[in-house]
């Protein structure tokens, strides 16, 4: 179907295991389910696959009220009723009132598209079950117009989940699965390189040090993630903080500069301050 392979892009560093999983999903035209800590680039992955393989990207952001049917199509009965009142000619064809959903749009593309179903765990617990046939056979039936919509090209479907709800087995069986691990220091350096190529080496070293130290702090409610690190680096650059400030002993004894970008929870900041206090006492 495709001889192109996804190998990451100039903006996105993909690890070997992620690439393997994505390429398997692309080749077989099956959905891939991505899980991982918040901020590890799950949603971005779909955008980058689209960019890397040069495919159109369609997005379906799922909310707690989203119904599976909305991904296929909706019948806008109210509009039809209104048109009938106004004597509009369109009213005679029901097809005029079928509003296509993202899945339908994806099925109609001439090139194999990338469809992102974002945060599937936000929806109702039965939501994934309602999409089984659609994702499996890549077709569905429109009752109003009695037609069956079949995908011209099986789209590359990327599904992300934050693990707020468990997904049903029947659904999982139809997907490839990949869990994005939190990157280790080496991968992290690559990621930062991709985003801020001109970052001074020492500053980066110190910042990464401070960052991983912070992640090691026991009991943090929300550990800072990659996207937070990138934000923080941006701030450090903007403020022109020197590496010396980040380095040295005082890292253990004071909050890192601009910590607001990394710690997003007042309990965490509080915990961190307490630990610093303990450290200071020990140091004396």
């Amino acid at each position: 179907m495709t001889d192109k392979r996804f190998t990451g892009t100039d903006r996105y560093v993909a690890t070997q295991d992620l690439m393997t999983a994505v390429n398997a999903a692309v080749t077989l035209g099956r959905p891939i389910l991505i899980k991982g800590e918040p901020g590890t680039g799950k949603t971005q992955l779909a955008e980058e696959i689209a960019r890397g393989l040069d495919r159109p990207l369609l997005q379906w952001h799922v909310k707690s009220t989203t119904k599976a049917q909305q991904g296929l199509y909706e019948y806008d009965a109210v509009a039809r009723l209104r048109d009938s009142q106004l004597g509009d000619e369109r009213v005679h064809d029901i097809a005029n009132y079928i509003v296509k959903g993202p899945l339908w749009e994806a099925f109609e593309q001439d090139v194999q598209p990338v469809l992102l179903i974002d945060e599937i765990d936000k929806a109702d617990i039965e939501f994934p079950n309602d999409l089984l046939r659609e994702l499996d056979r890549m077709e569905f039936y429109v009752y109003e117009t009695h037609q069956t919509i079949v995908a011209k090209n099986r789209p590359i479907i990327v599904i992300t989940s934050n693990n707020e709800k468990e997904l049903p087995d029947a659904f999982l069986r139809r997907c490839f699965f990949h869990y994005i691990r939190f990157p280790d220091a080496e991968t992290m350096r690559e990621i930062v390189d991709v985003h801020y190529p001109n970052l001074k080496k020492e500053l980066l070293d110190e910042a990464l040090h401070a960052f991983f130290d912070l992640r090691e702090v026991p009991g943090l409610k929300k550990k800072p993630s990659t996207s937070e690190l990138l934000d923080w680096l941006k701030l450090l650059l903007a403020e022109d903080v020197s590496p010396e400030v980040l380095a040295g002993d005082d890292r253990r004894k004071s909050l890192p500069p601009l910590h607001g970008a990394l710690l997003k929870n007042e309990q965490d900041v509080h915990l961190f301050e307490r630990l610093i206090f303990l450290n200071q006492r020990e140091g004396r």
């Binding site: 070997q16 295991d17 393997t20 087995d169 069986r173």
Partner: protein, 391 residues
């Protein structure tokens, strides 16, 4: 060769289905993977394992089947994450206890002892590499050391050693063998659903609109209805503390499932048995109590009452005034239980203790009698049964 791998995975406790296995073969057939073992490992993992908490189990089977290199539990002890240990103390210890620890030789020493103990324990039970029981006479036992409730944090970057990926078993800390997931609980709680339309009419009632419009000779007549939602009201009483420590996890799951499922959910905590006061916040249980009488008057009798507790206590705590372990109670727990049950005829008690232990604990029998035998085990089937009796 792969057929054997497939069956080994199933024996290893991974519910790999035939379709998933066929998918793997299809992927292999399509030659997208190179011929390296690493790539095969990633591929088969993406095809066959759908939950990161099972990655570790997969790694073990993979390593066994493909005869990795080292034995499985080679450097187990080296990788007990220190922050995990420390976090326990952070969570579980009060200031005095911390002081006590200092007197025992400080953190470092204590960690050392604990680590040794973990090591010993690992040698004794194979596979029991995560569970540390309460340590009996050890200094750890005193703190109700209970690892079940905690999910270990992602371990920091390990130095890249010359070990195969699957032998590193990096996902070890995600493995949890909880049978009762939130999903199961939610599905069970759903049995209690009662949909009703109440409140402001803000949704278009399509069938009614169409009918009224037709009756109106084609002139549009829009009908609105209130949104449909779950109208069941639930009053949840949770036993907190003491012997319930062993059941923290399952209770947390029940609580989060209930919160997601019921719009009208009120919860209170009690200790062992319900007395004149209950509380909403375990940290301020002594300062902010709600008199039970207020609860009885505030929430109408159409609330369904769910009590969660192990009912494991001294019989005095139920039948005698002053029997409570925490305070002086003027009236016996049984009297308060009776008032509660009189107000809320629809009531059940969920007990996380295994059923086979019930008959050996007198207080469980007594409580069950008080509940008119409406005591159910806190398992999926028990919950379903309970929900049926609540309807």
């Amino acid at each position: 060769m792969l057929i054997r791998f497939f069956f080994m995975l199933r024996e290893g406790g991974l519910k790999v289905s035939l379709t998933e296995f066929l998918t793997l073969l299809e992927v292999l057939h399509s030659r997208i993977a190179g011929y390296s073992v690493d790539e095969f490992y990633y591929l088969s993992r993406a095809c066959l394992v759908k939950d990161e908490s099972l990655y570790d189990r997969f790694d073990r089977v993979f390593s066994e089947h493909f005869k990795g290199v080292q034995d499985l539990f080679g450097d187990e002890t080296a990788e007990i994450p220190e922050d995990w240990l420390r976090r326990h103390f952070e969570r579980l210890m009060s200031e005095e206890e911390k002081a006590l620890v200092e007197s025992l030789g400080g953190w470092e020493e204590l960690m050392e002892t604990l680590r040794k103990r973990l090591e010993e324990q690992e040698k004794r039970h194979e596979g029991g590499n995560k569970w540390i029981g309460t340590g009996g006479t050890s200094p750890f036992g005193a703190h109700g050391y209970n690892p079940e409730g905690i999910r270990m944090g992602q371990d920091g970057s390990r130095h890249r050693r010359a070990v195969k990926v699957w032998d590193k078993r990096e996902f070890r800390n995600l493995d949890d063998t909880v049978e009762l997931g939130t999903r199961n609980l939610k599905v069970a709680l759903r049995r209690l659903r009662r949909f009703a339309r109440e409140g402001a009419a803000d949704e278009l009632d399509l069938p009614d609109t169409i009918e009224s419009t037709a009756r109106n000779a084609g002139l549009l007549d829009i009908k609105m209805v209130p949104e449909r939602h779950n109208a069941v009201k639930v009053l949840l009483f949770l036993d907190a503390g003491g012997s319930m420590d062993d059941h923290v996890r399952v209770c947390e799951e029940l609580f989060s499932a209930a919160r997601g499922e019921f719009k009208h959910l009120e919860y209170f905590y009690f200790h062992n048995c319900v007395y004149e006061g209950v509380w909403k916040d375990n940290l301020r249980r002594h300062s902010e109590r709600t008199p039970l009488m207020d609860v009885l008057h505030k929430y109408s009798s159409d609330y369904k009452l769910i009590l969660v507790g192990d009912a494991t206590m001294s019989p005095y705590e139920i039948h005698y005034p002053g029997g409570s372990v925490e305070h002086w109670n003027e009236e016996a727990g049984a009297a308060w239980m009776k008032r509660l049950l009189d107000t809320y005829p629809k009531a059940i008690w969920l007990n996380p203790e295994p059923v086979n232990r019930w008959e050996y604990t007198p207080s469980i029998r007594m409580m069950s009698e008080l509940m008119a035998e409406r005591m159910y085990p806190l398992t999926v089937s028990g919950l379903e049964e309970g929900m049926r009796s609540l309807r």
